[in-house]
């Protein structure tokens, strides 16, 4: 590995175990080229489009639904609600196929004891698109089952029965779903019935209010942090400040006799304290003196050096044509993005209650089945004996795909024989995040005589994103050939260009990196769409026209063209600077959803001010247009926060800062006062929504700044010189 040789990374493998013991086996052969291998090609394109249908329990309506005595439907969702609005979308889908009103549907997180466990994760913008077909089928199956029971009880042929708002009627008689279900012990699961015509749907396609709106406005205790259990104690876990620390020994003598301390637990991989209150646990934790064997002192410069194209292993993930003559007169730009923190407001927290032969875990998690398996393994229990009770997530963004704290809480609970609640301090959240890895991009391009691109090359380097995670072990990287997360947004979308090539370099970082909402998309699109904009300027062409001329003719290309046109039209896109404001244009395709954005920007007190963002997106069929708009607004603001302000540093071996403020994020005053969203429907099924709008925002802002100031900003966060 090149980076090993240049001396920037003198570390032993053992130190990397800070990643949670997931192992770091295997490397990809240098120069691997995915498209020679048809299986890899298939897998990679699947992973990149991420529109896989949901596959767990899709033939078992009784695992998903409960009919309650007050004639309501309880929907046990295997997908977690973390703000993305999935609960509302699936309630709409279920209500329409079940023929009940929205107010009759109550969505709850499926406890793993119900059996409705998602074997993958909530993430990747797949929940609504993946459940679209199976959930409606399950609801339709339940409707058929209930009608059949009603027909028997009412002694009316089921063909004569109709349902409205959960009331079955026909031949002058009526029966509620609850009455139909009463006393039935053996249900016969029918074949999948025909689904309703989309025109019959009352809720799908409508901007119905979120189902969790009241709970979130009146302060109901719905989050992991709010979870309690009777007789509960409070835990805390000692964590090192330095990157790559391994545990050597702990002096617990001072902490043992502190007020409220119940027990101090020293395990091979962590030191925990259990006390009567959270504050007492925290104070005792501070009094435990742990000796760590720490990494050599790293700093940001060392990480940046490590993260440079040419280090690590290269994989060509896309190639067309052959004219890549390095001697040619290429335009070249380099881009960088920093380490990003999730910074979700609800810290990771968990309540665990371990009995002799079972365990119950209340937790905000995006990976119920993995949390369950990890706890079961550590406690030596059968997986079925561990019940994960998921709660609402106070922000997910990929942070809750890793839940080793569930295991630690379980170990502490077992040690004291009582339920234990434990959560991260904010400093621990910042230092022990699973960060968005920094990236470096080198992009080269050459124009032809008509002022269009003849050649375009993108080489970029990233740390682990999807691979080497709890979801996709590193071993699978060998098979996939590339990190399917890091390459999100890395593909060149202007496929009418005669010669283009994308090369992904993988470098292993000494701290844990993972999924950060939209994965590689944010940085990749920033780099690529900034470069395209520069080439448009060089060609003296309008940024919109320049893009439109180089897009291919596949269905996705047509959808991309449509969003580009729609955004430009809605924003009245112009290249002129008017009253000190300029517009910047950018577009991306992520998970098969194209999105284009226009940012309207000015410079106020030498700072970049974003006034308005116009978003045009084609997520396919819009189950809930209002919540899709909300996701666009949220992505614009989270994205501008990341590209204008956010940055983690490494100083003296510590990740820093460790608090909001120094970790600067967009506040109310920074958010654009106007966000105009145009939704297009270029396909008849729902697609990805929660991440694709994060793509264009970085380049849209940077391209506006270029037009205002002449400065081509190539590093995130964007800062004027």
């Amino acid at each position: 590995m090149a980076d090993k040789d240049n001396g920037s990374k003198k570390v032993s493998r053992r130190k990397f175990l800070v990643k949670g013991g997931l192992g770091t086996i295997g490397v990809v052969a240098i120069g691997a080229y995915i498209f020679r291998n048809p299986i890899r090609r298939e897998l990679l394109s699947f992973a990149n489009s991420l529109e896989a249908p949901y596959v767990d329990n899709t033939d078992k309506p009784m695992v998903w639904f409960e009919v309650t005595t007050n004639n309501e439907i309880l929907l046990h969702s295997p997908k977690m609600e973390m703000g993305q609005g999935t609960f509302t979308g699936i309630a709409q889908m279920a209500a329409d196929e079940l023929s009940v009103s929205m107010s009759q549907i109550n969505v709850v997180h499926a406890a793993s004891s119900t059996g409705n466990v998602d074997s993958f994760a909530t993430g990747g913008s797949t929940s609504i698109s993946g459940l679209w077909q199976p959930l409606r089928e399950l609801a339709a199956m339940l409707r058929v089952m209930l009608i059949k029971e009603a027909a028997r009880k009412m002694n009316v042929d089921s063909n004569q029965l109709t349902v409205e708002d959960g009331v079955i009627s026909g031949n002058g008689k009526t029966l509620t779903y609850a009455q139909a279900a009463e006393g039935v012990e053996n249900w016969e699961v029918p074949d999948v019935p025909d689904l309703k015509d989309i025109k019959e749907y009352k809720y799908i396609g409508r901007p119905v209010p979120r189902v969790d709106l009241d709970a979130k406005v009146y302060g109901d205790p719905i989050f992991g942090m709010d979870a309690d259990m009777p007789g509960m104690l409070y835990g805390a876990v000692v964590r090192p400040s330095k990157i790559g620390s391994t545990f050597v020994s702990a002096d617990i003598s001072a902490a043992e006799n502190m007020p409220g301390v119940v027990k101090i637990i020293v395990e091979d991989d962590f030191v925990g304290v259990v006390a009567n209150s959270m504050i007492e646990a925290e104070h005792a934790k501070d009094a435990i003196n742990v000796t760590w064997e720490s990494f050599e002192n790293l700093d940001t410069a060392a990480i940046t050096k490590m993260m440079t194209v040419g280090n690590g292993n290269a994989t060509t993930i896309q190639k067309n044509g052959a004219a890549f003559d390095e001697g040619d007169d290429f335009e070249t730009l380099e881009f960088r993005s920093p380490i990003g923190a999730h910074a979700q407001i609800e810290p990771n927290g968990v309540v665990a209650s371990v009995e002799s032969d079972s365990a119950t875990i209340k937790i905000s998690t995006q990976v119920v089945s993995i949390t369950r398996k990890e706890v079961a393994k550590r406690l030596g229990l059968d997986t079925e004996k561990v019940n994960i009770v998921p709660t609402y997530l106070g922000g997910g963004f990929g942070r809750r795909l890793h839940t080793p704290h569930a295991v630690q809480a379980a170990v502490m609970s077992k040690a004291v024989g009582k339920p234990v609640k434990y959560f991260f301090s904010r400093k621990e959240e910042f230092q022990h995040d699973m960060f968005r890895p920094p990236t470096h991009h080198i992009i080269k391009g050459k124009l032809n005589s008509e002022g269009l691109l003849d050649t375009l090359e993108h080489e970029f380097v990233s740390g682990d994103v999807a691979t080497d995670s709890a979801l996709i072990p590193n071993a699978l990287t060998n098979f996939l050939g590339a990190d399917v997360g890091a390459i999100r947004g890395g593909f060149i979308q202007y496929t009418a260009i005669p010669n283009f090539k994308t090369v992904y370099w993988h470098v292993e970082l000494p701290f844990a990196t993972s999924w950060w909402r939209s994965l590689g998309l944010l940085a990749n699109t920033f780099a690529m769409e900034s470069f395209i904009d520069e080439m448009a300027l060089k060609a003296n062409k309008n940024a919109v026209d320049f893009r439109l001329h180089q897009i291919g003719d596949e269905p996705i290309d047509k959808r991309l063209k449509n969003v580009i046109k729609a955004a430009a039209e809605k924003a009245n896109y112009t290249e002129e600077v008017i009253n000190g404001r300029a517009m910047g244009f950018a577009a991306s395709i992520d998970a098969n959803t194209p999105c284009a954005q226009v940012a309207e920007v000015s410079i106020v007190d030498n700072e970049i001010k974003v006034h308005k963002v116009t978003v045009a997106m084609d997520p396919g069929l819009a189950v809930n247009p209002d919540q899709i708009r909300a996701q666009c607004e949220g992505c614009v603001i989270m994205g501008m926060s990341a590209v204008l302000y956010e940055q983690m540093f490494v100083e003296d071996g510590e990740l820093t800062p460790t608090i909001y403020g120094p970790y600067q994020m967009a506040l109310m005053k920074n958010a654009p006062k106007e966000i105009d969203v145009v939704l297009l429907q270029g396909k008849d099924t729902p697609g990805a929504v929660g991440e694709p709008p994060l793509g264009p925002i970085g380049a849209a802002i940077a391209n506006a700044v270029r037009r205002l100031t002449g400065q081509r900003l190539t590093e995130l966060p964007l800062q004027l010189s």
Partner: protein, 200 residues
């Protein structure tokens, strides 16, 4: 190495000699006058060492933005003076700062926590200019010398500088380079000697 040791011994000897000379009894009258002036300057310098330290200066901004930390960065989240030196209408100093330091959160606190009034903006001024402002009754709240001494030696918010609590990361904040007792004495002496600004 040996040559270096010799130099060190030499330097120490000279320093010792100077201390010995400094401690010899003063005999001539003119020396006393000079000495008084020197003492007055010492008092002034001690006082100014404190007033220009970050613990004091951070809340005497010239741009209406409170500062934080030893690097005197602008207060995070856009907090500013507001209409009455207490921040904004609903989100003000007391939204986070109480009447004493908070050792759990690291948020500093003292009674009547607020910015010094805009007329007492010291940030960016020379010591002489600060002193002039301090003494100017038109802008110091019409305070006499006695009232100024009382304010500077007894006010809890002023004296907070020596009990500044911990940062968010749990580490102690730095304190001014002069002890609280020495500062009080210096202030009392300087005013007692007529509050003369040295360069004048």
């Amino acid at each position: 190495m040996k040559i270096k040791s010799i130099y060190i011994v030499l330097i120490l000897s000279i320093t010792g000699l100077l201390f010995a000379l400094a401690n010899t009894t003063k005999t001539a009258t003119y020396e006393l006058v000079d000495d008084q002036a020197q003492n007055a300057n010492d008092d002034y310098n001690k006082m100014m060492d404190v007033l220009t330290h970050q613990r004091c200066m951070n809340c005497h901004p010239s741009d209406n933005i409170p500062k934080q930390g030893d690097d005197s960065h602008p207060h995070y989240f856009g907090m500013a003076r507001g209409k009455n030196d207490h921040g904004f209408e609903a989100t003000n100093c007391n939204t986070c700062h109480q009447s004493e330091n908070n050792l759990n959160s690291g948020v500093p606190g003292a009674p009547h926590w607020a910015l010094a009034p805009a007329s007492m903006a010291w940030e960016g001024l020379t010591r002489e200019e600060i002193a002039e402002r301090l003494l100017d009754k038109n802008i110091n709240g019409n305070r006499s010398h006695d009232e100024l001494v009382k304010h500077m030696t007894e006010d809890d918010l002023v004296l907070w500088a020596w009990q500044p609590g911990v940062h968010a990361n749990g580490e102690q904040r730095t304190v001014p380079p002069v002890s609280k007792e020495d500062f009080k004495k210096a202030v009392e002496n300087w005013f007692a000697n007529g509050a003369v600004i040295p360069s004048k």
